[in-house]
């Protein structure tokens, strides 16, 4: 009967109920977006880092991977040292550089990653094969389109440009043997993969036996943190960064978004709370006479409060469900704005939907709905019966 009364009360003022639900929906959408923003980046970045199975990254001492142009010297010795460890399964060295692809009278610059095909974790092969020979490269679609070339074609690629002689240095003819997608690069960034030796040679003596990054894959049973500490202590020219540390450091740089998410999420909840409180208060004030009569005929205070709470919670929940859909749409739009961050890997999502987020938002809103309705409901149900009936008669 309480449910019947609650449902009937909501239906009695349809426009008001619908508008309140709409208000809650907007609040819920905002809340969901902020929960997604607070957790999405971490989840997205974390899954990106472990996608290829490398748990530790070694960068030049004091730097983050590819944060600077610094390189790690004596790369081959370091790789040997790492492979000698029992907990290490594979090591992937990477050298980053800027190469110039000759295109008519001009050139197109592209990011180059020097890797060892057998152990690399930087790209996924789409068609063709990974480059293994000194005269082979694999390119992404952005580069292939920019230079108007395809699989099997040969490109003239240079490592540098001498401004005084106005000539390219470290030139080679390289054949495109594969079409790839680079996991960690931003959308539209032109890039190619080339065997490590070949890139080191093209770059000249300054890059001999040097790499920008070493990615380490550990055994499944290995303890990541002790491996990381052990590596950093034994190899003094590198900083060892685990996935967890990398996530923390990136999060620290983008902590602004988490804080913004927390603030806006709290504001959304507060506004939703305010809306339901106002609705319940007005609804109760209108029905003081009815409530007094219910009490007079023997309906308990708790039953009345329960009925009013059901109304408030129903508005919250229906609004929340609608808001979830709305939130997913707005999240997509907001994500598309943030995806334009320069240098941001294409695979990173600021707003990543996880079912847990939806449950969290729903739960918060349900609790909010209950809390928002409790005080006005209890107040309305606690008024002296005779006095209220008299007042309502006069009114």
């Amino acid at each position: 009967m309480i449910l019947t009364l609650a449902r009937a009360s909501l239906v009695r003022h349809r426009a008001r109920t619908l508008l309140a639900m709409l208000g809650v929906a907007v609040s819920a959408a905002m809340l969901l977006d902020m929960v997604m923003l607070a957790t999405g980046m971490r989840a997205s970045f974390g899954s990106l880092l472990v996608a290829q199975g490398f748990q530790i990254r070694l960068a030049p001492k004091g730097t983050l991977p590819f944060d600077t142009d610094a390189t790690i010297p004596d790369a081959s010795d370091i790789i040997q040292q790492l492979m000698a460890r029992r907990d290490v399964v594979a090591v992937s060295p990477v050298l980053g550089a800027q190469l110039h692809v000759e295109h008519g009278s001009a050139s197109v610059s592209a990011a180059a990653l020097g890797t060892i095909a057998a152990v690399q974790g930087d790209y996924k092969l789409l068609t063709g094969r990974a480059p293994t020979g000194d005269d082979e490269i694999a390119a992404n679609d952005a580069l292939l389109e920019a230079v108007g070339t395809k699989l099997g074609d040969t490109l003239r690629v240079a490592a540098g440009f001498d401004p005084q002689l106005r000539t390219f240095t470290g030139r080679r003819s390289l054949r495109v043997v594969g079409r790839v997608h680079f996991i960690y690069l931003s959308a539209g960034e032109r890039a190619l993969a080339i065997p490590l030796d070949a890139l080191q040679s093209m770059e000249g003596p300054s890059r001999t036996n040097r790499v920008s990054l070493l990615m380490v894959r550990l055994r499944d049973s290995a303890n990541v943190e002790s491996a990381r500490t052990g590596i950093e202590q034994s190899i003094h020219t590198v900083s060892a960064i685990s996935t967890a540390t990398a996530i923390e450091q990136v999060e620290a740089r983008l902590s602004y978004f988490r804080q913004l998410a927390f603030i806006l999420g709290s504001v959304s909840l507060a506004v939703g709370f305010l809306l339901v409180t106002t609705l319940v208060t007005v609804s109760v004030n209108e029905r003081l006479g009815e409530i007094a009569v219910l009490r007079a005929i023997g309906v308990r205070r708790t039953s009345i409060v329960k009925q009013i709470l059901i109304e408030g919670t129903a508005i919250m929940l229906v609004g929340a469900v609608v808001g979830l859909g709305l939130g997913l749409v707005t999240a997509r739009y907001l994500n598309s704005i943030l995806a334009a961050f320069p240098g941001l890997p294409e695979a990173i999502s600021f707003f990543l939907f996880q079912p847990r987020d939806a449950w969290l938002s729903l739960g918060l809103l349900a609790v909010c709905g209950i809390l928002a309705g409790i005080y006005p409901a209890w107040r309305g149900a606690s008024r002296p019966i005779a006095h209220t009936l008299r007042e309502e008669a006069v009114a």
């Binding site: 009364l5 009937a8 009815e290 007079a296 005929i297 023997g298 019966i385 005779a386």
Partner: protein, 230 residues
């Protein structure tokens, strides 16, 4: 019921209100006994305290002093929770303004007290139908209060008051909002209820309703000044 067969036993009931800083003595020492099966009308000018007395008898309002026993249960000092439960099981209340739930149908309004008392759905639906038929509204079960006339609404209110088979039925100006013809119908219903064994106490200005009662209690200025039996 008390040992001497009294359903209602009130001794020296008083009710004081504070209004605008002044104490108003609405009921000033009323003692009243009502037997099971009696039909009592309380009459008096406006402001004499008769509705206040009825509210105390219905456990809607607590007396400032005095004792009140209904159906063998002492009502003084009852907690709100216990008073509510007592009202639900032992007292039926009919108001001047009907006070039906506008969002519920006639049958749902009558079911409401039974649902609160924990009765099962089919049992309460069956009884509600029975009660509405008793009051002559067997064909109007699914109508909402706004679709019923004043007299019909009051009859639904009477059926609701009888839902949990209360020992005592209280009515505060039950014909106050009704035209003469409809009022007569309701008076007739009360007489029938009393013939069927319901104990009634009504507060009224309506002479016809007062005449229908077996015992009339006159109040003035918060005290009983006279009473007579028909």
């Amino acid at each position: 019921m008390t040992e001497d067969g009294m359903l209602v036993s009130a001794r020296d009931l008083r009710r004081d209100y504070v209004m605008a800083g002044a104490v108003v003595q609405a009921v000033r020492g009323v003692s009243l006994d009502v037997r099971t099966g009696e039909y009592v009308a309380i009459v008096g000018p406006s402001g004499c305290g008769k509705s206040t007395l009825l509210n105390m008898l219905g456990a809607i309002d607590a007396p400032s002093s005095g004792t009140l026993t209904i159906a063998g249960r002492r009502l003084n000092g009852l907690s709100d929770r216990d008073a509510t439960w007592f009202r639900l099981r032992h007292i039926g209340f009919v108001f001047q303004r009907f006070y039906l739930m506008p969002v519920l149908t006639a049958i749902e309004n009558v079911e409401l007290p039974m649902a609160e008392a924990g009765q099962g759905k089919s049992a309460r639906r069956s009884r509600a139908r029975e009660l509405l038929t008793y009051v002559g509204l067997g064909e109007r079960l699914r109508h909402r209060p706004t679709e019923l006339s004043g007299g019909e609404q009051q009859r639904v209110a009477i059926a609701r008051a009888l839902a949990n088979k209360p020992e005592l039925l209280l009515a505060d100006e039950p014909t106050g909002e009704l035209d003469a013809r409809t009022g007569t119908e309701v008076i007739g219903l009360f007489e029938q209820l009393n013939r069927d064994g319901t104990t009634l106490i009504v507060v009224t200005h309506d002479e016809d309703l007062a005449r229908a009662a077996r015992r009339v209690v006159h109040m003035r200025d918060g005290v009983i000044v006279d009473e007579h039996h028909r």
